[in-house]
């Protein structure tokens, strides 16, 4: 079985498991929503203020939600030792990792689709004029978050205190991604919306580099 087909199989399995249980998406979405609401108490949510701290708020909510959501990605395979069964399958370890990364991209994307309109209404920011470019920035940021988050969830699954450990492992590594995504989003939400190429290049660089490293290290990650 080639990598693409194997990865698709894993992806379908992940999505099916999630749609049967429907626990991950619900919890993550509500968590992100709570973060967005709590921010309105920490800052004064007027239109001018929102434009200043809105992009940061959105990405912090997504990153926190992501660092909690990605944790079960590998940890839940431990419950019935199903990871061993997956690793015994005659497919490359990278296919398993890729399937999980893509599934997480879909889950995070679904959360963002639900969260964005609420964010726009609560903080009074007009997203529609820049929606195409905003989706582009969100896609780049989400992919980087999913790649590093999925790999680190496999790492954290080996440890004690894994629920607390994943955000600790993940968030400092995501500093460049957070900066680039926030600045790119802020550029889009300003009075004269523009997509700043420096930050897009940084996001693409982050994604390409960590995706390549994940591919190179997937054998070590999943052979234990």
């Amino acid at each position: 079985m080639n990598t693409a087909r194997a990865a698709t199989t894993i992806l379908v399995k992940e999505v099916r498991a999630e749609f049967r249980a429907r626990e991950l998406l619900n919890t993550t979405f509500v968590f992100a929503l709570v973060v967005v609401v709590m921010f309105s108490f920490a800052f004064d949510p007027t239109a001018a203020e929102s434009r200043r701290f809105g992009p940061g708020l959105l990405w912090i909510a997504l990153l926190f939600a992501g660092s909690l959501m990605l944790q079960p990605s590998f940890a839940r395979e431990h419950a019935n030792d199903t990871l061993d069964a997956l690793c015994l399958a005659p497919v490359s370890p990278f296919a398993i990792l890729l399937g999980k990364i893509l599934a997480n991209v879909i889950f995070l994307g679904a959360c963002e689709v639900l969260l964005l309109p609420i964010f726009a209404v609560f903080y009074n920011v007009a997203l529609m004029p820049v929606i195409g470019r905003l989706v582009f920035v969100l896609a780049l940021g989400t992919f980087g978050l999913a790649v590093t988050g999925t790999v680190f969830s496999a790492v954290a699954a080996q440890a004690r205190m894994r629920e607390l450990l994943l955000p600790l492992l993940l968030l400092p590594v995501l500093v460049p991604l957070l900066l680039a995504a926030v600045e790119a989003t802020a550029g889009l939400l300003s009075d004269t919306p523009e997509l700043q190429s420096t930050w897009i290049e940084l996001l693409v660089g982050f994604d390409v580099m960590f995706f390549t490293v994940s591919w190179l290290l997937s054998d070590f990650l999943l052979q234990e």
Binding site: A154, Q158, A159, R160, V175, L221
Partner: protein, 232 residues
């Protein structure tokens, strides 16, 4: 014993000489005066921390390629020593910044990236503490270590574009930078001394880790024998 003592004494003497040179031989800086002398330990500590993290990265790759335990011992030794030097940078920085800038901390590019670097390697050490199985600890911390090290240039680059307030590099900097020749000599002396301290600390920590692994193996073997005797 003597073999261990000689390098330690030599490095101690070197550090004393470095400290003397930084305080008394280096000329007075025209605007910052005495407080500038902290620079002879602050800047080299930062460079030494980066050297230690590079050693950690090489050891991480070495472990994944060959699966020899000594690479893992080197990785943890280098990471811990790197964090120690990184902490020195983060403590000496504000001591200098308070009189020079008037504030202890500013979210300037270098300060922020140094702090993020410190957080990254603290997470690396935390991860190692939380994985009980020695083989898994070595493999998974090596994977994480490689991700960390590759993240460092991205962190520096992104924060640099974001903001900068730190004095521009005066060593190997661009045009218009440069040091008084005596200052330069003292700076290189301190850098050399701190690198030697790093080497000795890593060696010490490496041997400690190997001894710890050996004790662990002996303990497991002893427990196995006791339980075998109990069954018989």
């Amino acid at each position: 014993m003597i073999k261990r003592l000689i390098p330690a004494v030599a490095v101690g003497a070197l550090m004393i000489f470095g400290g003397y040179a930084a305080l008394f031989i280096a000329p007075d800086e025209s605007t910052m005066h005495a407080i500038q002398r902290i620079f002879y330990f602050h800047a080299p500590s930062g460079m030494v921390a980066l050297m230690a993290f590079t050693i950690c990265f090489i050891a991480n790759i070495g472990y994944l390629v060959g699966r020899k335990p000594h690479w893992d011992c080197l990785a943890v030794a280098a990471a811990e020593v790197g964090v120690a030097f990184n902490t020195v940078v983060l403590i000496t920085g504000p001591i200098w910044a308070k009189p020079a800038w008037g504030i202890w901390w500013a979210w300037d590019a270098r300060l922020t990236s140094t702090l993020v670097l410190w957080l990254l390697y603290i997470s690396f050490l935390l991860l190692r503490d939380l994985i009980a199985d020695p083989d898994r600890r070595s493999v998974f911390s090596a994977i994480y270590g490689i991700f960390l090290f590759l993240d460092v240039p991205l962190v520096y680059f992104s924060i640099r574009i974001w903001r900068t307030q730190h004095p521009q590099p005066v060593i190997l900097g661009g045009q218009g930078s440069g040091l008084d020749p005596t200052m330069r000599k003292v700076f290189y002396l301190c850098w050399f001394a701190l690198t030697a301290v790093m080497a000795i600390l890593i060696r010490q920590r490496y041997q400690l880790e190997r001894a710890r692994n050996e004790v662990e193996e002996l303990r497991i073997e002893a427990e196995r024998q006791i339980s075998a005797a109990g069954q018989a």
